[in-house]
Amino acid sequence: MKPIDVTRLKEIVGERNIKTDPSDLYVYGSDSSVHHAMPWAIVKPENTSQVQEIMRYANEEIIPVIARGGGSGMCGQTVPIQGGIMLDMKGMNKILEINLADVYCRVEPGVVDDDLNLALKKYGVFYPPTPASSRIATIGGEIANNASGVRSVKYGATRDAVLGMKVVLPNGDLVSLGAHTRVEASGYQLHKLIVGSEGTLGIVVEATLSFVPIPEFRCMGVANFDALKDAGEAIGSIMSSGSIPSMLELVDSVAIKAVNKTMDLGLKEVAAALIFEADGMVKEAVDYEIDKMKKICEKHNGQDIHASYDPKERAKIFMGRKKLFPALSKYDDNLASTSLADDMAVPYSKMAELAGKVHEIAARNNIVMTAYGHCGSGCMHTKILMDTKRKDQWDSAKKAITEVYEYVRSVNGTTSAEHGIGLSKAESFKIEKSDSLNLLAGIKKAFDPNNILNPGKLAQAPEDWVTATNLRYSVNS
C-alpha cells in the first residue's frame, strides 16, 4: 500500500468528507459482486474542482482512483483490486437543470435515478434507461456501466439517453464532451465512449440527459409456458414481428419458485412466464400491440394469458419480477445466490436455446442457475445458486461460467448486456474482444497514461476471477 497524504486530501475536501478507518474502508471494499478488496481512503468530493484537485494529486503520486456511485455493481467494477482512493461521488448529488423546452436535464453524477424520475414526473416526462437498482443507482454509475432496464427494449440504454457530459481526466483537466442536442456529428463521439467505460477513462462530473414523455396508457400482460423453449421462441417471434413492446421480460421456474417463497403472489409454478407491456398515447394503438403479443404467445403454447391497464393489477403482475433478484436467496436454504454469469446478450433467435443451455450447463456442473431478464432487448440474466462454503462448488461455478459464455460467443452474442465486465466477466470479455484488445489498450493509454483510473479492470483484469480478490464468502479449503 502506498502512503496517502491524508492531510492534503482533507485540505481539498474537508475533514468531514474523508474516511480512513479500517472498518469504513472494509465496507467500501464491497459492492454487489462476489469480490472484496480494501481501498486506502474514501473521499467524498462535493464539486468538480475538488475532483480535479484529487486527480492531480493522484496522478502526481500514481495512486489508483476508483469512482463509486451506489455501489450496486455486480461484477466488481468498484472493488479496488489495486487499492487506492475511492471517490464516493454521492456527494455530488444535485439536479442542476430541468429544461423542458430543449428536452434535457443536467445532473451531477451522484443523483439517484429514482430521485431524478421523481423530479421529472410532475412534468409528465421520465428518464427511461432505469435499471432495477434505480432506487440506489446513481447516474454516474449508470453511465459507467451503460445501464439499461426493463424499458430499454423500447427506449434504449444509457448510451442512447446521454447527450453530453463533463469529465475530469486523470491529469485533472476538465473536458466537455457531446452536446445538448439530440443529434451531433461533430467529430468523435467521446461521450459515448465514456458510457460503459467503467470508470477507467475519466470521472463524469456532470451529465446532460434526454427524457421522454410518460405514456398515457400502459397495458401489461403475462403468459405462462410449460416449456422454457416455447417462451424463448415467443420472445424471438414478438421482436421479429415488428411489435414494439415497452417491456418484455422472461422469468424461469427457478425464479418463480424463489419469488413464491419470498412473496405471497401465488405465481403458477410453470417452466417459464413472459411479462409483456405496450405503452403509448393512443389506447387503440396500445390495444393493437398487446393483442399482437397475446396472439404470438398463444401460437407458442402460452397459457393463462391476460393483460390489464389497471395500475394495481400491473403492479401485481410485475411485483414478482421486480423483487426477483433478492428473492433468489430464498430458493433453497442451503444455497446462496451469487452474482456470477449475471448477464449476457444473444440474438433473439437464440434466446430459447440460451435459456435451455443455462439449465443444461448448471445441471451438468451440479449447481443451480436461473434464467430471466429483459429478453426483449436480447438481455439474459442468470445467477448461480450454490453452497458458497464448498470449494468444489466454486470450481463448478467457474467451469459453468466458462461454458455459458463459450456458448454466448458461439452464437454471436456478447459477454455483457448491461451489468458490465468489471472483474468477474473479464475472462470472456478478453476472448470476445481479442482482436481489438490492442486498440482498447491504446485508448486507455491516451486517456490515462499513468493507469490510475480503476486499474486492473476490463482488459487488465486477472484471468482467474475467483482468486483475483478476496471473495466475500467464507469458503472451506
Binding site: 465496507v27 459482486s33 454521492k90 446462496a336
Partner: protein, 315 residues
C-alpha cells in the same frame, strides 16, 4: 486471515445467513442514518458486511466497528424490505451482544444518562425494551437491548437521557430544519412529522434546483417514532408562522415502541390547548399510516393542505 467465528458466540449462527445477503444495497433507501450522513458505512448493508468481516477475522473488533453495530433505530424498515429475507436487526443485536462481551459498547445510538439524572426511574418503567435499569446508584442502559426509540428522552423530566449521535432525528435539529423551511419558503404552510416506519420517502438523496422547491407548501421531517414527538417540537413550527402541523405515526397494532399511543395523547393535549386559546385545533392533525403507504400518506397531506388553505394563517 484467521477465522474468528468462535469468538462470536451469538453472531456465529448467522454465518450462512450472511451469505444470503446479496449486497444489493436496496436497504439504503429505507435507512434514516444513511440518508442523514450519505456514507455507505452507515447503511444496513454496511452492518451485514461488517458482521461478516468480524467473524471472518477481516475486521478487527474496534470502537469504530462497534459504533457501526450499535447505531440503529430498529425501525426495521430494512428488514421488512429485504427480499432475501435477512433478519437484519436480529443479526445486529447478536453482534452487539458479542461486542459487549469483548468490552466494546458503541455508544452508537444507545441512549446514555447524564450526570443530572434525578434517579426518578421514570425511564426504567417507560422503556419498552427493558434496556434501562437501576443498580442502586445509577441508571444503566444495556446497549444490546437499547433500540434507540428515544422514548426515555421524552419522558425524562431532567433531560438527562440522551442519544448523542441521533443522525438528525433530535429535537433541536428538527426544530432548526422546520424553522429554516418556514422562514425561507414564502409559500410554506405546514410541517409534517413522520415516523420512519409509516413514511417511505424512497431515497431522495438528490438535491433539486431551487426552482423546483421554492413553491413547496410543506416539509416532511422524519423523527423516527411517534413516541418521540413532544409538545415543544410540535409547537415550534407555529412560532415560525406555520399554518398547521401533522404527525404521521403507525396504526394501532404496528408500533414496535408503543410510541403511536403516546403520540395520540400528546397531540390530543395540544389540540385541547389550541381550543382553549381560541385557535382552531384542526391545525394539528395526527394520521396513522400503514407501513410505507405512500398513496395514503400523500392523500392525507393533500387533504390537510386544502384544509389549511381554507383556514389561512393564524392571526
Amino acid at each position: 486471515m484467521e477465522n474468528k467465528i468462535k469468538e462470536f458466540k451469538n453472531l456465529e449462527k448467522w454465518q450462512g445467513t450472511l451469505a444470503n445477503c446479496i449486497r444489493c444495497g436496496y436497504c439504503f433507501e429505507h435507512c434514516p442514518m444513511f440518508k442523514h450522513t450519505g456514507w455507505e458505512s452507515d447503511a444496513p448493508r454496511a452492518k451485514i458486511i461488517t458482521a461478516f468481516g468480524l467473524i471472518s477475522g477481516e475486521v478487527e473488533p474496534s470502537e469504530s466497528a462497534a459504533d457501526k453495530m450499535f447505531s440503529c433505530f430498529y425501525c426495521k424498515r430494512c428488514e421488512a424490505a429485504c427480499s432475501s429475507g435477512v433478519p437484519l436487526t436480529e443479526i445486529f443485536t447478536d453482534a452487539r451482544k458479542d461486542l459487549v462481551e469483548m468490552g466494546l459498547e458503541g455508544p452508537g445510538t444507545t441512549s446514555i444518562t447524564k450526570l443530572n439524572c434525578a434517579r426518578c426511574l421514570i425511564c426504567v418503567g417507560a422503556c419498552p425494551h427493558e434496556a434501562r435499569s437501576y443498580d442502586g446508584k445509577n441508571i444503566a442502559t444495556d446497549p444490546a437491548k437499547c433500540q434507540a426509540c428515544g422514548i426515555c428522552l421524552e419522558v425524562c423530566p431532567a433531560g438527562a437521557a440522551k442519544i448523542e449521535n441521533d443522525f438528525g432525528t433530535g429535537r433541536d435539529e428538527l426544530i432548526e430544519r422546520a424553522s429554516t423551511f418556514l422562514n425561507t419558503h414564502e409559500s410554506s404552510k405546514a410541517i409534517i412529522f413522520a415516523c420512519n416506519w409509516s413514511y417511505f420517502p424512497e431515497l431522495q438523496a438528490s438535491v433539486l434546483p431551487d426552482s423546483e422547491t421554492r413553491d413547496n407548501n410543506y416539509e416532511i421531517l422524519v423523527n423516527m417514532c411517534g413516541g418521540r414527538l413532544e409538545p415543544q417540537l410540535l409547537m415550534a413550527p407555529f412560532l415560525h408562522n406555520a399554518w398547521g402541523i401533522m404527525a404521521a405515526v403507525c396504526p394501532d397494532d404496528d408500533c414496535q415502541h408503543e410510541g403511536n399511543q403516546r403520540a395520540k395523547k400528546i397531540v390530543e393535549n395540544l389540540r385541547n390547548t389550541f381550543k382553549s386559546i381560541d385557535i382552531d385545533p384542526e391545525r394539528i392533525q395526527l394520521v396513522q399510516i400503514p407501513a410505507g403507504d405512500k398513496t395514503l400518506f400523500q392523500a392525507e397531506i393533500d387533504t390537510f393542505v386544502v384544509k389549511l388553505n381554507k383556514m389561512g394563517p393564524i392571526r
